[in-house]
Symmetry: C2
Subunit: 217 residues, 2 copies
């Protein structure tokens, strides 16, 4: 059995944050497929055994079951030293961006992508417009921040980068965003991350069937 077992599926950028870290850190890990698209995380049994929050990723590590990508990244960085922020101030700064990511940057972008492209029924356009506007506001904050630095905390990648990078490699026809055109600093940053040893596309790294996004009106 691998040292780390990651419960995940390929459409989940939150799972990808951890998978990409594990891969770039060169750790011994294996995926455990979660059939989210068919409701596995809503099953009460799955929730009580795996995660009461009904979410992936879940990481089995050292006899623990860790959930929340931000916790998992912190745990792994503390344990291995890889991509760890150096010093107390840097730790706080990394966490500041991880919280902003969970609250706004990933959150609205991912909700918009899911409801636009993968929800079972079409989503009201007003809902999509609201989510998109909030995602754009969060992306503008990160775009401005990355004007002055190569990675979120400066010259070297840390867990904050892996957190923010969860959804930035999914294709435009899923996300409804054109990052290369509209967010050049974010685009350059994701290219820098792509150059790391161990980088792989979410659809190559994570298990599950690829699903064609809903045709847009």
């Amino acid at each position: 059995m691998a040292d780390y077992r990651l419960h995940c599926f390929c459409q989940s950028g939150n799972a990808y944050k951890v998978a990409l870290y594990l891969n770039c850190a060169g750790l011994d890990w294996e995926p455990v497929f979660v059939d989210f698209m068919n409701g596995m995380t809503r099953d009460p049994d799955w929730r009580s055994r795996t995660n009461v929050m009904g979410e992936v990723p879940v990481l089995e590590a050292d006899g623990k079951q860790l959930t929340q990508s931000g916790i998992i990244l912190t745990y792994l960085a503390d344990k291995t030293g890889q991509f760890a922020p150096q010093g107390e101030d840097a730790k706080l700064e990394a966490w500041r961006w991880i919280l902003f990511d969970n609250h706004k940057f990933t959150s609205f972008f991912a909700a918009h992508r899911f409801m636009r492209s993968f929800a079972p029924a079409p989503t009201d356009p007003a809902v999509l417009a609201m989510l998109k506007a909030r995602a754009e506001a969060a992306y503008a904050v990160v775009e401005a921040h990355l004007a002055d630095c190569s990675f979120v905390l400066g010259d070297a990648p840390t867990i904050a980068d892996f957190s923010l990078a969860g959804y930035v490699y999914y294709p435009d026809d899923e996300t409804g965003f054109n990052l290369a055109q509209d967010y050049p600093n974010i685009d350059a940053w994701r290219q820098r991350l792509r150059a790391l040893d161990g980088w792989a596309d979410p659809y190559d790294l994570l298990p599950g069937e690829r699903i064609a996004p809903r045709a847009q009106p």
Copy 2:
């Protein structure tokens, strides 16, 4: 000058999380009013001086400017020991709930309240319905968790409780929720927190004018 200066306003439950902690911990703090409702946090000058993320709370402490309520709570708990989770596993568990709070529990509930009651123009009913459904799903997770424990981590309150409690004392006519009726475990938990020395209502603790919520159709 007080030891801690909290940039805040009374409608912000995210600021209230920190204000309530400071008060219950008996720390020497003072509020700095942020005129969010008139756009102060969108001002580029305010952003560059105070918080590039355009958000409150911001805490001035020990010559630093800390942002993100989860970071501030962690910083204060580490420094003072008050309401600090005990041990590494408890720290991870507290952070797991703080992330869930930022991602879903506070996030959707607060966005729903703001757009329903305080946004300058009425919000599309489909948007409110989506935000409410997501808030309800997050509240159901916490309601189930609190069936077995007095506070989020067990018998004693920690920073995780202060994080989740940010918006649970705002009146029903603002939030559109009836917590006392629909979430009895959350209601009992907020009463337990209310019994702490230093507890105060957000509208008594934080500066700014109270605004009548928009009349509902």
